[in-house]
Symmetry: C2
Amino acid sequence: MTEPRIPRLYVALVHFPVLNKQGDIVTSSVTTLDVHDISRICRTYAIETFFVVTPLLAQQQLVGKIVEHWMEGFGATYNPTRKEALTTACVRNNLQEVSKTIESTAGRAPRILVPDARRFPKSVSYTEARRVLNEEDGPFLILFGTAWGLERNLVERADMVLDPIEGLSGYNHLPVRAAAAVILDRLLADREP
Amino acid sequence: MTEPRIPRLYVALVHFPVLNKQGDIVTSSVTTLDVHDISRICRTYAIETFFVVTPLLAQQQLVGKIVEHWMEGFGATYNPTRKEALTTACVRNNLQEVSKTIESTAGRAPRILVPDARRFPKSVSYTEARRVLNEEDGPFLILFGTAWGLERNLVERADMVLDPIEGLSGYNHLPVRAAAAVILDRLLADREP
């Protein structure tokens, strides 16, 4: 019997390529609150690095300012738990850069997991995804799409698509911040007997 | 064997009485994003009613405006899934009013569940709380505290205190929006075999 281990898991919040309401491929704006909330969520579930992915320089600078304010500015003293959360956050231009960064620290490119609000032939249950994360070699990278979701090719090329989060009502429109919390909890939290 | 049933569960987001950073009892400000996110989360998990609790008239009006904009204004056409989410939201002055509203529709006052970041002698696991929700008579009301958490008497007088959400890292500072999503998912989502 092997020791339980913490899966080597990375998270990317993707602002390009994503879909808008009409289904066009667009670059979405960074929402500062997504950065704050998902940083805390990633810190809670021991995610290696939280990548904020945007090709727009002004938006990259915005994320840099958020991190800097809470890491070094007034915020670092005022709210140390937020500082601690943001140590896991960093910005990248695109997913290729994310993959390279992971490869350079973890020794190989990550396997890609994508949650999606729809079910695909290759969708897997959370039970199966937990098994893979616990038993197979990582690193793993989960992509969270902003706006109306990840561009379709990203979903089709993913190594695993996660089943939709089904609540109790058939209503399936959680904000990305809430979806990220539920998904990481389902994949990673200790399960009671 | 009885049919599985959906527990009769209500949610209140409490802005008074809550604690500030120093441990004083204060009234916190309503965060519009909490209202939006927790409405969607409540809709996803088939919560009966989402009560936003604040004694401040200006803040009550703010919540009313948010709901109205998305229910009747431009937002209702632009974003119908948000409209659908906000149908579960309403404002109350205090927890006594919440309890009365529930009693008038459900026939009796609710049993109170409180999540807390600390463990108490009466804390129960999520497994036990799921059992109570599924097997015992409701209605039930979960209180989510804003700011630095619910005033201590509310926690001590609760019928059940839920175990802290433990991720993997010992870091325990999820935003209330994320905590609400994780807690309702753990209590209510269908479990895979």
